[in-house]
């Protein structure tokens, strides 16, 4: 088992450049890093989020998320696949297309739900 784990982290290290989902297994990134990181969620590319630098303006600012999404699961669904609500959306389907792992999506949800 240990060997399995270490070989997985070896893979992650090797493939770190492009295998974000595996890297996630390493659980090294904080919620904020997953949300802001250019090679992870990169939500700042399109959204202003308090505490983030150089935000884009394509999507609405992510503020007062608790009021916007009383049901946390709805927020998660928006991030998992925004095309469900709006088929023409510009927002990438982070879960559906495996851009983030399920665990990383939980991290992002937690992070922006606190905003």
């Amino acid at each position: 088992m240990k060997k399995i784990i270490s070989s997985i982290s070896a893979v992650s290290a090797l493939a770190a450049l492009f295998v974000m989902p595996l890297e996630a297994g390493a659980k090294e990134m904080t919620d904020e890093e997953v949300t802001f990181g250019r090679k992870a969620g990169n939500c700042l590319a399109c959204h202003m989020i308090p505490g983030g630098n150089l935000p884009g303006t394509i999507g609405p600012p992510l503020l007062a998320m608790k009021a916007r999404f009383p049901n946390k699961a709805d927020l998660r669904a928006q991030i998992w696949d925004a095309t469900v609500k709006n088929p023409h959306t510009i927002m990438p389907p982070f879960g559906k297309h495996g851009i983030l792992t399920e665990g990383q999506i939980d991290q992002v949800v937690n992070y922006i739900y606190s905003k």
Binding site: M1, K3, I4, I5, S7, I8, A10, V11, L14, A15, F18, V19, P21, L22, A24, G25, K27, H88, G95, K96, H97, G98, L100, T101, E102, G103
Partner: protein, 107 residues
């Protein structure tokens, strides 16, 4: 569709505790385990279909190459993960091609 979701979920939710659920790691010395070989072949075939319709994703071939390389090492559960991830991408890309069949302007 459900199947794709399942695969995607399975593949991407890999974390340390689920690693031991994956097959093929019992085969310490057999780098060319049939499961892995089959997974790599399936990923390659599906990715060819994605390329044929013009919707191949950027990293799929990289994953397949990595899987192939990893399959040469004794424990190849990562190779299987990588191959399945490539296949999930290739299937998503094919689905994307279908979804975009009537793409056009909104004005």
């Amino acid at each position: 569709m459900k199947k794709i979701l399942l695969i995607t979920t399975a593949v991407f939710s890999l974390s340390t505790y689920s690693a031991d659920l994956l097959p093929s790691c019992h085969n310490w010395n057999d780098g060319s385990s049939d499961t892995v070989k089959a997974a790599i072949a399936a990923a390659t075939a599906e990715n060819k279909k994605a390329a044929k319709v013009g919707f191949e994703w950027r990293d799929t071939v990289k994953f397949i190459k990595k899987a192939t390389k990893l399959s040469a090492t004794p424990c190849n559960s990562s190779a299987l993960t990588m191959a399945n991830m490539a296949k999930a991408q290739a299937l998503d890309a094919q689905k994307q091609a279908k979804d975009q069949a009537n793409a056009g302007p909104s004005f």
